[in-house]
């Protein structure tokens, strides 16, 4: 844990960047042959969802955030790509293990567990960092929803 309180990081994720990445990935997906088949809608759904999350992770600052890293890693695992991230602080996992052993009994740790399951990459974070990442994640998610909504509005037939 840092000894000094740094100011809370509140970057605003950029809509344009996200829209750009997302549209690019969508057009990439469209070019695939198996994409437009009427069956297997679930596969298409999953692919689109994954594309959305990956583009969001890229727009939100790439590998500088823990949850974006986890998202990208998860996506890359399926395509068997090797993703390389700059390991800045391996100390985080050590702190996490220490705090885990210390108080899993506390009330707020139980609730933090639920949050950890939701936010990607939450298993490796301490509680205070987790909350900060959650705030940023919420911002990114709402931005993503807005952009996708506008796309759907624009593209759907009247």
């Amino acid at each position: 844990m840092a000894s000094a309180d740094k100011p809370i990081n509140t970057d605003v994720p950029e809509k344009d960047v996200f829209a750009l990445h997302f549209l690019q990935s969508l057009s990439n997906l469209r070019r695939q042959n198996t994409f437009n088949s009427p069956e297997k809608t679930n596969d298409r759904v999953k692919k689109i969802k994954k594309a959305a999350y990956v583009s969001m992770a890229r727009a939100a600052g790439g590998t500088s955030r823990l949850w974006s890293r986890a998202l990208l890693r998860r996506a890359a695992k399926e395509t068997n790509k090797v993703v390389r991230f700059s390991r800045r602080k391996k100390r985080v996992t050590w702190l996490r293990r220490r705090s885990n052993r210390r108080d899993p009994v506390e009330e707020e740790e139980k609730e933090a567990e639920r949050l950890r399951n939701l936010v990607p990459g939450g298993g490796a974070m301490e509680t205070s960092k987790l909350i900060e990442e959650t705030a940023y994640y919420i911002k990114c998610l709402s931005m993503q929803v807005k952009v996708m909504q506008c796309l759907v509005d624009g593209l759907s037939p009247k």
Binding site: L118, T134, I138, M148
Partner: protein
């Protein structure tokens, strides 16, 4: 008297090791210290050297306890005003024979060796317990604030808790309905909101495919955990739900409502649903086709946007037109 103390291990040190005074003479030395900067009080918060340490310096001078305390404490403040750890190093350094400052090294090593273990245990005891009432404090000491331990562990705990509370406050502004003061309910709200947003993304990614069947299959999948892949089965699932609900409604409205709620649906009149869907997105086909009742997703967890963004498949159709139930 003084010289007898200096000789035992004076082989190692020469009196000129001292940084501040030029010559090592006890009286001059002590007078230098006494006339130096006033005793700092804050730097010596937790590290009260025990009075028995003075016994190790007992032969040093025939000062009282206070001045002996001051003797040991002053070099610390003089050299490292903010380094509270140095006291420990000082005491542990005695046994090792090497001091962080070039204090009377020979004499310190020679005299302290007699009782260094006692000193060290006392030192560690006093530094960990910090400012206990057992040690008669000299005036420069600042006692710990009432109700707050100066134990480093609890300080870290307190810091951590404060940081968590501060971040939670900033989270509160992000989440709608963030006016709850209770931390537990605030966390619940946050978790629900994150789930809601994730579900929204999922539904939005579905809707652009124009797969109405996939929409309903996803809804039932979320509610019931079933996984249908083809559209035919999807509609059958939806129809089965409708039949089930209709059957239940004949017996007892309450159980029908409970069944629907278990699936995350609720009943509302058609007019209301069409009004909602028309109000928010006029360009969209109404999700509810011409039926008297329709089931809609109940809580934000099941994404009301599924109605508003889907492309025209009814969720629940009810055959009999007799009753209209309101949620």
């Amino acid at each position: 008297m003084n010289s007898s103390l200096l000789t035992p291990s004076s082989s190692s040190s020469s009196p000129h090791h001292l940084q501040s005074p030029a010559t090592f003479d006890h009286d001059d030395f002590l007078q230098n210290f006494f006339s130096s900067a006033p005793w700092p009080s804050s730097a010596l918060d937790d590290d009260a050297p025990p009075p028995t340490s003075d016994s190790s310096l007992a032969g040093f001078h025939h000062h009282d306890v206070d001045s002996r305390n001051q003797i040991t404490m002053i070099p610390l403040s003089h050299h490292n005003p903010n380094d509270a750890v140095d006291v420990n190093a000082l005491y542990s350094g005695f046994s090792a024979g090497s001091l962080p400052f070039h204090f009377p090294q020979g004499s310190g090593g020679g005299v302290i060796k007699q009782s260094h273990t006692q000193t060290q245990s006392q030192a560690t005891a006093s530094t960990t317990t910090g400012g206990t009432a057992a040690t008669p404090q000299t005036k420069p000491k600042v006692r710990a604030r009432r109700g707050q331990a100066t134990d480093p562990h609890s300080i870290a705990e307190r810091l951590r808790r404060e940081r968590i509370a501060e971040r939670m406050k900033s989270l509160q502004e992000l989440v709608p309905n963030g006016n709850k003061t209770d931390k537990a309910s605030m966390l619940d709200e946050i978790i629900d909101y994150v789930k809601f947003l994730q579900l929204q993304v999922k539904v939005l990614s579905m809707s652009r495919l124009g797969g109405a069947a996939s929409v309903s299959s996803q809804i039932s999948e979320d509610a019931g955990g079933s996984n249908e892949n083809t559209s035919g089965e999807n509609q059958m699932t939806a129809k089965m739900t409708e039949h089930q609900v209709a059957k239940l409604m004949e017996e007892d409205m309450g159980s029908a409502m409970q069944y629907l709620q278990g699936k995350g649906l609720c009943l509302m009149p058609i007019s209301l649903a069409t009004t909602i869907s028309n109000a928010t997105c006029p360009s969209r086909n109404p999700l509810i086709s011409a039926v008297k009742e329709a089931g809609v997703p109940l809580s934000p967890n099941t994404a009301t946007t599924s109605i508003l963004n889907g492309n025209g498949a009814p969720l629940v159709t009810v055959k009999d037109s007799s009753s209209v139930s309101k949620p």
